[in-house]
């Protein structure tokens, strides 16, 4: 079997962490290009066409948020953001700017690898068309026919509940921020009305989860957003 040869771009100014990331990723047969500054990173992203970017938000030259915004003007390359804990607002901003996922330091390399895999898989899977069908565990969703099943049982959803769920399905496995969900489901005028989201998310959980207080599918990322469980891969 041909080894994976995705090029991963790491933008991280701490040399030890850079070394750790490079070593870990190379051992998984990825090609790795590690850079120290945002400026270098932006140039490399343009010329080397990496498959994925790992970006530390605290860079010596330009702010990580700025790197994301500039990159998103011309590139859809998946971005994983590394951030310190307790900086949910920064994470949220990065995600709203267009980052795809985040990890807080200190992070486990196992989780990093699984996130990278998931993102690369998503890129491979989307040659244009939206997905028709989603399944994770007992949860089955037929998107075009707008039908939802838990096990064999069909679940009736209201239009808003279904829109919310399908927005999560579009990003299955990845975190979607409160703002993104509010904007997509209720429109730009409702981005501050986070209670809408809580109430409908609560309703969805009560309909889809066996135990709403210990959800399997509709996972809360406190302070950031929601993540739909994608199943064991």
């Amino acid at each position: 079997m041909k080894p994976m040869s995705h090029l991963l771009l790491i933008i991280e100014d701490d040399p030890q962490l850079q070394m750790l990331l490079s070593t870990t990723l190379e051992s998984q047969h990825y090609q790795v290009l590690a850079l120290r500054t945002g400026q270098e990173g932006l140039i490399a992203a343009r010329h080397k066409k990496p498959s994925l970017l790992i970006l530390d938000l605290g860079l010596p030259d330009i702010d990580g948020q700025e790197v994301i915004s500039r990159l998103r003007k011309w590139s859809e390359v998946p971005i994983i953001v590394l951030s310190a804990r307790n900086q949910e607002s920064e994470i949220t901003q990065a995600l709203d700017n267009g980052a795809d996922d985040y990890l807080t330091k200190p992070f486990s390399t196992v989780i990093l690898l699984s996130r990278i895999k998931a993102l690369l898989r998503r890129v491979a899977k989307v040659p244009g068309g939206a997905r028709e069908f989603f399944q994770a565990g007992e949860l089955k969703i037929e998107l075009t026919r707008r039908r939802v099943f838990v096990g064999a049982q069909e679940v009736g959803l209201t239009p808003i509940e279904f829109n919310l769920l399908s927005e999560l399905v579009r990003h299955a496995g990845f975190v979607v921020t409160h703002r993104q969900l509010l904007e997509k489901v209720w429109g730009a005028s409702h981005v501050e009305h986070s209670h809408y989201l809580r109430i409908y998310m609560g309703q969805l959980r009560h309909k889809l989860e066996a135990d709403p207080a210990r959800p399997r599918y509709l996972l809360t990322e406190a302070g950031v957003g929601y993540r739909l469980y994608e199943g064991e891969n």
Partner: protein
């Protein structure tokens, strides 16, 4: 006729100081015009009341002797004296004399008096009437003075009472501005020096009775010289505003700028003394508040010092051990020249991983506590469903407590609560982590969430050994550990962090021993706002 309320100015006592002389002319004008207004009304009584008495007496003129009639008139004079003052009563005496002579003393319907007895009676009555009127007038005056003094005392009492209850500088100043406005009738404001010792405009938003447009130059002169200036004084007399220095025990601490509606209400001696008393009261209260503030700061500093010491000793203990292990294991691996077997190498790597995880946890807790202590944390309150907090906390501990039975007792559809979800999730993680750490494997953890009349209550309970009696409050102190030598114990910051977060939400947290064994930590979060409503969606389901 429009009646203005009587002014609050009385000349009290005889001690006319220089300030009073300075405004004496003003005072005279003032009081004359005030008196004149009353005079017409009051003087009328000096005519009306005798005429009334004459009407009443007329039918009894045959029965009553003339001395009886004179007595009646005298009564009338007393009444006028007590009710309306001296001059109306003098007028009443004169009217009486005329009426008596004309209607009662023979010959009737003539002002002539033939009987010498009547003449003497009338003269005596007039003298007695005038003297008693004068006495009554004095009594009246004294009553007015007493009443005014009492009012003044009560306004001072009101001021001191309010000041005694004030603790913040802004409160004290607000009270000062209000009372000075009420008593002296002018817009006013207090000016204090900034950090560089230069007088500046206040930062607080002004009250509607605050004075605007003061002249900082004059105010600074007053501040530096400690002398009164502005309108009605010898310094900067062309100013419209009066600037009064606030003299404290350590020199001038600020300046009161007062726009006088009436100079008399400030510069009459009694008023001036009253104003001084007001200013002194306010200055003393400000000084008291400042020294209380300083004492509090000193205590806080001392507490911070103690905290730093215990933090250092705790950190050195809790971080050194894992560090020693990590460095040791890493060195052994580094030096390894293929002499270690595969099993030993794996063991060393596992030790490094485990110990660094422990260090990471400790560091995160220490940083979190420091952040909370520093007051750096601003609550990012959002509406959250209580079940989401529990759910996300459980997920963060997923691996750790996977083998444990966790029972959740929670009503469906609890109301949303306005909280900082990230911090509250931290509280739940710490509590669940403790419950897991301090109770034997295999025993369940119970979480219960319920709404109370006052808010939301969340309890996490285990079936561990419980907390020794008397230590239930201690466990929320920083770096306190029930069993410090135990290998499982952390740095002693988990519960203090919980308490800091819960208290930042205005709630409280406490630990109790459960009946049947185990510990229960319960937190109460007050509901400060009711959840907003959501436009109802058409409830029909999609088919």
């Amino acid at each position: 006729m429009q009646h203005r309320p009587a002014p609050n100015i009385y000349l009290l006592g005889d001690d006319r100081g220089p300030t009073l002389r300075f405004t004496a002319k003003l005072a005279d004008n003032h009081s004359i015009c005030q008196r004149a207004e009353h005079k017409y009304g009051y003087l009328l009584s000096g005519i009306v009341i005798p005429l009334l008495l004459t009407l009443i007496d007329w039918p009894f003129r045959e029965i009553l002797t003339s001395s009886n009639i004179l007595m009646f008139y005298l009564l009338g004079v007393f009444f006028v004296a007590i009710r309306f003052g001296f001059w109306p009563s003098v007028l009443a005496s004169l009217t009486n004399a005329a009426a008596f002579a004309y209607f009662f003393a023979p010959p009737i319907f003539s002002f002539a008096i033939t009987d010498p007895e009547n003449l003497v009676g009338l003269a005596v009555t007039m003298v007695v009437g005038t003297v008693t009127s004068k006495l009554a007038e004095n009594v009246r005056q004294q009553a007015r003075v007493a009443e005014h003094r009492e009012r003044r005392a009560s306004s001072l009492y009101q001021l001191s009472k309010e000041l005694a209850e004030a603790h913040l500088e802004t409160e004290i100043i607000e009270i000062g501005v209000r009372h000075i406005h009420a008593e002296f009738g002018g817009q006013n404001t207090f000016l204090f020096p900034d950090r560089n010792g230069k007088l500046c405009y206040p930062n607080e938003p002004p009250l509607d009775i605050s004075l605007h447009g003061t002249d900082l130059g004059v105010a600074r002169w007053v501040f530096n010289n400690g002398q009164i200036a502005g309108n009605g004084t010898d310094n900067f007399a062309s100013e419209a505003v009066v600037y009064i220095p606030l003299n404290g025990s350590t020199g001038t601490i600020g300046v009161l700028a007062l726009y006088p509606v009436d100079l008399l209400r400030i510069f009459l001696l009694e008023q001036r003394q009253l104003l001084d008393t007001y200013v002194n009261q306010i200055v003393h209260t400000l000084e008291r508040a400042n020294s209380a503030e300083q004492a509090k700061e000193a205590t806080l500093k001392m507490q911070a010092e103690t905290l730093r010491n215990s933090l250092l000793s705790s950190i050195s203990h809790d971080l050194r051990n894992p560090l020693a292990t990590i460095i040791g294991a890493a060195c052994t691996l580094e030096m390894d020249e293929e002499r270690l077997d595969e099993g030993s190498r794996r063991k060393l790597v596992a030790v490094i991983s485990e110990e660094s995880q422990r260090m990471s946890d400790l560091t995160i807790k220490i940083l979190e506590m420091a952040r909370l202590e520093a007051g750096e944390v601003v609550l990012n309150r959002q509406w959250y469903a209580p079940e989401e907090i529990i759910g996300s906390a459980l997920r963060r501990l997923d691996k750790k407590i996977a083998s444990r039975q966790v029972n959740i007792h929670m009503a469906d559809h609890l109301a949303l609560i306005h909280i900082d979800a990230v911090l509250l999730q931290q509280v739940m993680v710490n509590l669940l982590d403790n419950a897991d750490k301090y109770s034997p494997a295999g025993l369940p953890i119970d979480i219960s969430v319920q709404t109370t009349p006052l808010g939301l209550s969340i309890a996490v309970a285990d079936r561990g050994p419980g907390i020794p009696e008397g230590l239930q409050n201690k466990i929320f102190d920083k770096f306190f550990r029930v069993n410090a030598e135990s290998a499982q114990s952390g740095v002693g910051l988990g519960l203090p962090i919980c308490r800091a977060i819960v208290e930042a939400h205005g709630g409280e947290i406490q630990a109790t021993n459960r009946s049947g064994g185990g510990t229960m930590v319960q937190l109460h979060l007050p509901i400060l706002e009711y959840p907003p409503t959501v436009d109802p969606e058409e409830k029909e389901l999609m088919q």
